[in-house]
């Protein structure tokens, strides 16, 4: 029962979820299409002036990714609810948190792919130029995604097993994500349209702190909510 066994469990769960997604593809395609549709709608709300679009691009792109990925979090557990798969999963020996970590990793890959497509399309639609500090931007994207996916995977475990899951997940998740979204949007915006106050660094530190706190807290609490 060492760390190596835990790691193998995490990998097995993540691989299982990703294989399910890869074989059906319909889920991923739908979520990506939704993300792009949201971008177009935001374009109608804010456009068509190029300067305005560029100014608001950071916020819009993050929101499009958020709205689309919420669907992924519910899906992640929906597959477990069919024909008692979750009960089977619980019968396997080993620590409960490995199930959470596995799902977290799978969702990260899912949302990472989603972001690659949605952000590329968004950069074109909203006239975003790739900034010179692209490596920092990439870091912000990763940190923001980790924050969103950690809480999304955690609350998804509850919402998907309740009545009215479509309402409940965003209702629980969005207020909790206020710091991540604020930090990620402001830091990305600073890098995209000019970091006058050189504030991006402070936001990145906030993102790191948020991610560490909530990755730890969700792992600790997951055992309690899985069996309930």
């Amino acid at each position: 029962m060492g760390a190596r066994d835990d790691w193998r469990r995490v990998r097995a769960i993540a691989w299982k979820d990703l294989t399910t997604e890869r074989r059906s593809k319909a889920g991923f395609n739908g979520v990506v299409a939704l993300g792009v549709t949201i971008l177009v709608l935001f374009g109608f709300a804010l456009g068509p002036e190029a300067a305005t679009l560029r100014q608001s691009a950071a916020g819009v792109l993050w929101l499009a990714v958020l709205f689309a990925s919420v669907l992924a979090f519910n899906r992640s557990y929906q597959v477990e609810l069919e024909s008692g798969a979750l009960d089977q999963l619980l019968l396997y020996p080993g620590a409960r948190w490995t199930i959470f970590t596995g799902k977290l990793v799978a969702n990260l890959v899912f949302v990472g792919l989603l972001m690659t497509i949605v952000l590329t399309v968004g950069a074109i639609l909203f006239h975003v130029d790739i900034p010179t500090r692209w490596a920092e931007l990439l870091l912000i994207l990763v940190l923001g995604a980790v924050g969103v996916v950690t809480l999304g995977t955690f609350y998804g475990a509850m919402a998907s097993r309740s009545r009215a899951r479509e309402v409940l997940l965003p209702l629980l998740l969005f207020p909790m994500l206020v710091p991540v979204l604020l930090a990620a949007m402001q830091a990305s915006k600073a890098l995209l349209v000019g970091d006058l106050m050189s504030e991006a660094g402070a936001w990145v530190r906030l993102l790191i702190a948020y991610d560490l706190i909530f990755v730890a807290a969700t792992h600790l609490a997951f055992g309690a909510i899985l069996e309930g």
Partner: protein, 239 residues
């Protein structure tokens, strides 16, 4: 069959009202007296005039909101730690009362803000994070109402309560970095002595009202749980 409290199979003793209605009467009278005293003894403020008097409801309501949220956090931690229906019901009661005071804080603040700042709403750190806190409360309460199974409801809402409590200071910090405009928080130390007594009295008055409301809500929640249990055991053909 009449269901009496004594005949119910229950892990948590169904609380009796006892003298609590009297506490309610006392809390109400104390509140009225504190309000009247505060309004009578405070001279009109140099800048705000009589508008200042809204402080005697707005500021205590804000304190009580945080008191209630603190109760939710502590009870939720205890539920996660060792389970327990009592803490679960207490957390739920405190969350409901807290949400009401939270909404009250925001509305009273708006009524004060319109003549003072000229706008109903401004995206200041304290305002915005109080609104986010209300949304977290609402999420917590909706989760509870969407889950029927008591054990599961207790565990899940406890997790949501603890994570929400962890998040409150982070939300505040992030929104403060984003922008800020609110005047320095009112506390007895930042206040002209003429207003201190009124504020203190009303803080206690609100505290009594909160304790009373949480207690009565807890009684109601415990009765509902007991009734659910009775239904269950009847359906199972038990006692």
């Amino acid at each position: 069959m009449t269901v009496t409290a004594a005949s119910l199979p229950s892990t948590v003793a169904v609380p009796r009202p006892g003298r609590w209605p009297l506490v309610g009467v006392f809390a109400l009278l104390f509140l009225v007296a504190a309000q009247v005293t505060a309004v009578m003894i405070s001279v009109p403020d140099r800048d705000m005039g009589h508008l200042q008097k809204i402080m005697y409801v707005h500021v205590p309501a804000a304190w009580i909101t945080f008191c209630a949220f603190f109760v939710v956090a502590i009870c939720s931690l205890k539920v996660l730690w060792k389970g327990g229906e009592r803490d679960d019901l207490l957390a739920a009661s405190a969350a409901e009362v807290g949400a009401v005071f939270n909404a009250l804080t925001l509305m009273l603040g708006m009524i004060w803000g319109k003549p003072t700042w000229g706008v109903w709403w401004t995206w200041d750190a304290r305002l915005t994070s109080t609104l986010v806190l209300l949304l977290i409360f609402i999420g917590y309460l909706s989760l509870r109402s969407f889950i029927d199974e008591p054990e599961r409801r207790a565990k899940w809402s406890a997790a949501v309560g603890v994570l929400g409590a962890i998040n409150v200071p982070i939300v505040y910090l992030s929104v403060r970095w984003w922008r800020t405009l609110h005047q320095v928080q009112s506390a007895p130390s930042t206040l002209d002595p003429a207003y201190t007594l009124g504020l203190r009295l009303n803080a206690f008055a609100f505290l009594f009202v909160m304790i009373y409301l949480v207690r009565r809500r807890y009684e109601a929640a415990a009765l509902v749980r007991a009734a659910e249990r009775a239904d269950e055991s009847l359906a199972l053909g038990g006692r």
